[in-house]
């Protein structure tokens, strides 16, 4: 192997990327765009849930309860409705996903017994959102209950006997405290790196075929391994630059707490970048048209990364068969590494398993990719 040829190829490739606005856009603008889109667009927190109110009593107490819902910030009152039929209509028209029904004797029962039922109705077509909204509603009710109990105690000198039958407080604290962005953003970095990295290298070999430069290139003494390394060098630099940009954005812009060490982060990120570039290169070797290679790279990185990496959908909640499948989905290792490094401050020792998995992946991909290229037109 000749280092000189590797460097010559790397320099040539760098010049080509540098002079090609499309490649530059993929390399530099795509990460920025995706960081904004995915960073802001994907959130498991639900705010301002559209809620209808059917206040049958319309007393000071009932209005105070509605006010509690609004003040919590989780709900937005979109309609005030006369009856249950109207609730149904409002849900059908998607004016609200839930309704709060306050019975006609709410304040009277409350004053007499210290407890009064209120009903909430939720549209469960989107179970995820509904579950979260129910949690919020329970939280608001339990806060209102505690508040009422305090006032009752001040007035009567004793606590009401049946107040706060169910204590919902932990759920409220949980949702208030844990911002889902801390969980999502590190995964976003992995998604972007996988996407951009594979896109970049997926075009390098097919471009040579399409532009007719490959025929002359393979008539020279260049070896397949030199070609591969030469092609990967500039993209590795670009990949690391993109990674640094995304990670810096995660820490300084999205303010995800970073408890780990930069060295661990750099090491694991390099490893992942290498795997991703290797996969892109392999695709490029196998598929000779640029469009085709780009499409395959998109499917092979986008789908596993977004669906099976655990970036949004937790792996331990998947069916066993799918869960087993995720072990070959390389981004899952990097997603779990990133979360551990960011949120738990894990070091190399704790991350031995995912790092080993990524290393094996890197070795395997490079081995396959280096052998896949044939210096031949047939």
């Amino acid at each position: 192997m000749s280092l000189r040829r590797v460097l010559a190829l790397g320099f040539k490739e760098f010049l080509q990327v540098w002079r090609d606005p499309r490649s530059l856009a993929v390399a530099l603008l795509m990460p920025l765009m995706q960081m904004v889109l995915l960073g802001y667009g994907v959130s498991l927190d639900i705010r301002r849930v559209p809620l209808c109110v059917q206040d049958q009593e319309n007393s000071t107490e009932s209005r105070a309860l509605v006010e509690d819902f609004v003040a919590s910030g989780w709900f937005a009152i979109t309609r005030t409705l006369p009856d249950n039929a109207a609730v149904r209509t409002a849900m059908d028209r998607e004016q609200c996903i839930g309704a709060l029904v306050i019975p006609v004797d709410f304040s009277r029962v409350l004053a007499a017994t210290g407890q009064a039922p209120v009903q909430s109705i939720f549209d469960a077509t989107d179970t995820n959102t509904t579950n979260i909204a129910i949690g919020y509603a329970e939280g608001v009710i339990s806060l209102a209950t505690a508040d009422f109990a305090a006032r009752w105690e001040a007035a009567h000198g004793t606590r009401p006997t049946r107040v706060g039958v169910v204590d919902f407080e932990p759920r409220v604290w949980f949702n208030e405290g844990l911002d889902s962005k801390n969980f999502i953003i590190p995964g976003v970095v992995a998604v972007i790196l996988a996407l951009v990295g594979a896109q970049l290298t997926s075009l390098t070999i097919s471009r040579e075929w399409e532009r007719g430069t490959m025929e002359q290139l393979i008539s020279t003494p260049v070896q397949p391994i030199e070609l591969m390394l030469g092609k990967l060098v500039p993209y590795f630099a670009i990949g690391l630059f993109d990674a640094a940009f995304c990670l810096a954005a995660a820490i300084f812009w999205f303010r995800v707490p970073f408890l780990g060490s930069i060295v661990t982060l750099a090491l694991t990120t390099s490893l992942f970048t290498f795997v991703v570039l290797g996969i892109g290169y392999l695709i490029s070797v196998r598929i000779r048209s640029q469009i085709g290679a780009s499409q395959v790279a998109l499917v092979l990185t986008m789908l596993p990364t977004t669906l099976l990496s655990g970036y949004t959908f937790p792996i331990d909640q998947m069916p066993a068969a799918i869960r087993a499948l995720t072990f070959i989905v390389y981004p899952r290792y990097y997603v779990s590494i990133l979360r551990a490094v960011f949120l738990k401050g894990s070091g190399v020792a704790e991350l031995a398993f995912p790092m080993l998995a990524l290393t094996l992946y890197a070795v395997f991909i490079i081995w396959v990719a280096a052998r896949a290229f044939r210096k031949s037109l047939d």
Partner: protein, 312 residues
């Protein structure tokens, strides 16, 4: 090991099509050997197999004694191949392309600079070294291709239709470089569809439908052409060609600009017959004279005969 190139019984198929069928020839060191034939004759396929980028289905290729079929990588440091389609990087400058190919062949820096300057000078490309290759004219691109192919001083140079689409001035410069190389002992194999260019080669292989019809020096090929050649200049050469079909003794007719080349079995006997045939419909024509055949005449004579033989 006297031959720079020796190929034997070379065969390559593409599906049902036999692109190259049992081709054999040898090229001596320092020769400029031409592969001549129309598109689809198999020129490019032979070139690619010689360059070690396409494997033959049968046959042998020796370049300077190196078995290209068995070990193409061993031959590659010693050869240069310039594909028919421009194979350099259009988004790199002239100088960057030259440097890239020099590095791939491990040319020392000093040598690259000296030889690069020399070649740029010969190709009149010196003022354009900072221009992107994509912005060069067709002729300049081909000359740049030649420079990149020559930066490492190959023993064998393979040029696939190097002057197609090249202006006459660039073409002359191109050939001047080739003649220079011959002096230095570089063996050159080139393919061409231009008959006038074929005449510049030391030896030619006339290729048709994947087979060699004839292989010799241009001079001997012309001498060996069966029959004699008469030229009939005319204002309307198409009318002349139409009128002369079927005259006894006429073997072939070829339109050559403002004249018709008539290949006949016996010049002395045929000339009056031709004049008589043209006098009938009163077709105006100049003096019918015997001329020396060109490579195109030879080629058409050979291929025409072959098609007739196939039809029979």
């Amino acid at each position: 090991m006297a031959e720079a190139i020796a190929i034997g019984n070379l065969t390559r198929r593409f599906g049902p099509l036999v692109a190259v069928n049992g081709v054999s020839f040898t090229v001596a060191p320092g020769e400029i050997f031409g592969l001549v034939g129309p598109d689809g004759a198999g020129k490019t396929t032979i070139m690619r197999m010689l360059a070690g980028v396409l494997s033959p289905h049968a046959g042998t290729i020796l370049l300077d004694g190196i078995d290209v079929v068995a070990a193409p990588e061993r031959a590659k440091p010693h050869l240069s191949y310039m594909p028919q389609r421009f194979g350099l990087y259009e988004d790199l400058t002239v100088a960057e392309n030259i440097r890239f190919y020099a590095e791939l062949f491990g040319v020392p820096r000093k040598e690259r600079i000296a030889r690069g300057a020399e070649l740029l000078e010969a190709a009149a490309l010196g003022p354009f070294r900072r221009r992107l290759a994509g912005n060069l004219s067709g002729g300049m691109k081909q000359k740049l291709g030649l420079i990149c192919a020559l930066i490492h001083t190959p023993r064998v140079l393979l040029l696939d239709e190097p002057t197609t689409g090249v202006d006459p001035v660039s073409r002359r410069e191109f050939w001047a470089i080739l003649y220079d190389l011959r002096e230095q002992g570089v063996t050159i194999l080139l393919s061409t569809a231009y008959m006038d260019e074929a005449e510049r080669c030391t030896r030619l292989a006339l290729l048709h439908a994947g087979e060699i019809r004839s292989c010799d020096t241009p001079q001997r090929l012309k001498q060996a052409m069966p029959g004699a050649l008469l030229a009939v200049p005319a204002a309307d050469p198409r009318a002349v060609r139409a009128a002369l079909g079927g005259v006894p003794g006429v073997l072939g007719l070829l339109l050559m600009g403002d004249r018709v080349h008539v290949r006949v079995d016996d010049a002395a006997r045929a000339a009056p017959l031709l004049a008589a045939r043209l006098a009938g419909p009163n077709i105006a024509h100049g003096e019918i004279a015997r001329v020396e055949p060109g490579i195109e005449d030879v080629f058409v004579a050979l291929v025409g005969d072959a098609t007739k033989a196939e039809a029979a």
